[in-house]
């Protein structure tokens, strides 16, 4: 799988963080309030949103409405391969290519600090 977003003409970087209903055991060590506030204050990006379930209808509707070609989306959520399957429909509905516009970050089995550092690294790489 190619997780590297290919295009260089993105004008914005956005973070779409999925909190898995704040209920996933694999994310139990993440304080999403602290994580999102640290991201907002410290990391270079244009905007961020948190959603409780990006992979279901409500989340897909949001992706379909929101995603744009000239934005690079970093998605902290479940493991990368899982995200690829689960977020595909939302990207397709928006007509935005995952290959070009998407960089997943797994925050499964991370704590707030390691999740923050992995999101930081992802933003630096794109």
């Amino acid at each position: 799988m190619n997780n590297e977003a290919k295009s260089t003409q993105h004008v914005k970087k956005a973070i779409l963080m999925c909190t898995c209903s704040f209920a996933c055991p694999s994310m139990k060590d993440i304080n999403f309030g602290e994580l999102s506030e640290r991201i907002r204050l410290e990391l270079p990006h244009d905007y961020m949103l948190l959603h409780p379930r990006l992979c279901e209808e409500n989340g897909e509707n949001l992706l379909a409405d929101l995603l744009k070609d000239n934005v690079l989306y970093v998605t902290p959520a479940c493991k990368e391969e899982k995200q690829k399957k689960l977020l595909r429909d939302g990207f397709e509905k928006a007509g935005v290519k995952m290959d070009n516009n998407w960089k997943p970050v797994s925050i499964s089995f991370k704590n707030t600090e390691t999740a923050f550092n992995d999101i930081k690294k992802a933003l630096e790489e794109v």
């Binding site: 055991p25 139990k28 379930r53 689960l86």
Partner: protein, 94 residues
């Protein structure tokens, strides 16, 4: 791995987890590979739900991975009704 409370309700009170239809399960392992939460375990005859309360409340993503249709979940309406009852019991204000 302990689950999280959900809306202030102890996870074990919420009857949300997959049910496996043993007649349909062919032990392919797709659900086991897909879910990170240690919910499933390969049993002798078919897949088993070993840790039901590790399942994320409201998630049913693994059902799409099961080609035989062996996995099922309560309906969203049943979940919402149960959560209303439990919020009353635990007096949460969500």
């Amino acid at each position: 791995m302990a689950g999280r409370d959900y809306m202030g309700i102890p996870r074990e009170e919420i009857p949300w987890y997959p049910t496996i239809n043993a007649d349909l399960c062919n032990s392919c392992g797709s659900c086991l590979d897909f879910c990170s939460n240690n919910v499933f375990a390969q049993g002798e005859l078919h897949m088993e739900v070993a840790n039901p309360y590790n399942c994320v409340v409201g998630c049913s993503a693994c059902a799409n991975e099961c080609e035989t249709g062996a996995l099922s979940f309560p309906s969203k309406e049943e979940l919402v009704k149960k959560l209303h009852e439990l919020r009353d019991k635990y007096k949460t204000t969500v």
